[in-house]
């Protein structure tokens, strides 16, 4: 594997959260829009930082905060709207082979009403999570360190002796062809 001893990998404590979200797909589909709306700030922070840093190790704290927020929401949902959620999840499970929500809009409206009444949370309109959202993080974006390859190559070439024999027998990568059938 390409991970060396010098590669920093987080310890098991950093990688373990007290409670993961352990829901099966129909249940997760039933509650996902409310959960994502409730934890919108955490989710935005996590996804933005992850995208910017391109490094899963850098956003473990944000990820743990997001999971904790989701777990909190699910606990309060369980206290207030469990029967409606169960009905919707069972409908999603049984309604269609692809677990679509389209057969379950009646049950979904019941859950919408319950969540709105008990948790003061409105289900976002269809397409809300597919739109682009502008989010300003308090943490500044990481600096992208770009190596100046041309300068490095120029320095190497300059340090060569004057009468150094530069090879001429190379071909450009695009011209690599070993037989006539290759394009």
């Amino acid at each position: 594997m390409s991970l060396t001893k010098d590669t920093h990998l987080p310890s098991d404590e950093e990688l373990t959260v007290p409670q993961e979200i352990v829901l099966s797909t129909p249940w997760l589909k039933a509650v996902a829009p409310y959960m994502a709306k409730q934890c919108e700030k955490e989710a935005n922070e996590f996804m933005l930082r992850r995208k910017e840093s391109e490094d899963p190790r850098a956003v473990l704290k944000e990820g743990a905060a997001l999971t904790a927020c989701g777990v909190n929401f699910l606990q309060s949902l369980k206290r207030s709207c469990l029967p409606q959620t169960q009905k919707l999840a069972e409908c999603v499970d049984q309604g269609s082979a692809k677990l679509y929500m389209s057969k379950c809009h009646d049950d979904q409206k019941e859950l919408d009403a319950c969540v709105e009444a008990n948790m003061n949370l409105t289900r976002p309109k269809l397409g809300y999570f597919s739109k682009l959202h502008v989010y300003d993080s308090a943490t500044p974006a990481p600096q992208v360190k770009q190596r100046d390859y041309k300068a490095e190559a120029a320095q190497v070439l300059n340090e060569l002796p004057a009468e150094y024999h530069l090879r001429k027998d190379y071909r450009k990568y695009n011209d690599w062809r070993y037989n006539i059938t290759e394009s």
Partner: protein, 171 residues
């Protein structure tokens, strides 16, 4: 024996035969041409409308699902990252353990020659082959290429015909 008195000539009925219809006859006209043309155009128009509406409905149905998946994605990503990093640490520890007796071996390199030269501190996901290097051969097929499932993974009609230990070996 027939005699002359019993002979009787067949004659036309009284008033003669009815007039013979020598004109061309047409079948009864059920629908007027205008009605037929109107029906065809109407059915076509309705078919086009129904197809477009059905297409819209299918697209909406799929889009609804995609929207829900988008809502789920941050949560799944957070969980996946933790699991993935644990797996990477486990793999590296396994390599340390396996190669500890090989002189000159440095973990994550080919006897000290690194795979990537210009990465620096940047994270780069190892390829699937590297990740599954310490697993049994069929595990990659099963877990990575998702071959443990047939198209339909629910209960089958023949589930009760075989004991559990046997039926887990076929789909």
């Amino acid at each position: 024996m027939a005699s002359g008195a019993e002979f009787r000539q067949d004659m036309p009925p009284k008033g003669g035969y009815r007039a013979f219809n020598f004109h061309r006859t047409f079948p009864k006209l059920v629908w007027s041409p205008g009605a037929v043309v109107a029906t065809i155009f109407g059915a076509t128009a309705y078919g086009c409308y129904a197809a477009l509406e059905g297409k819209k409905k299918n697209i909406t149905e799929k889009f609804e699902d995609v929207d829900i998946n988008n809502a789920m994605e941050p949560f799944l990503t957070a969980e996946r990252d933790r699991y993935w990093l644990k797996l990477m640490a486990k793999n590296r520890a396994l390599e340390e353990e396996i190669m500890k007796d090989v002189p000159g071996w440095k973990t994550g390199t080919w006897y000290g020659e690194p795979v990537y030269f210009t990465l620096g501190n940047k994270w780069w996901d190892p390829s699937a082959t590297e990740v599954f290097a310490h697993s049994w051969g069929n595990v990659e097929m099963r877990d990575h290429l998702w071959r443990q499932h047939s198209e339909y993974a629910g209960p089958k009609f023949y589930d009760n015909w075989f004991p559990q230990w046997m039926s887990k070996w076929f789909w």
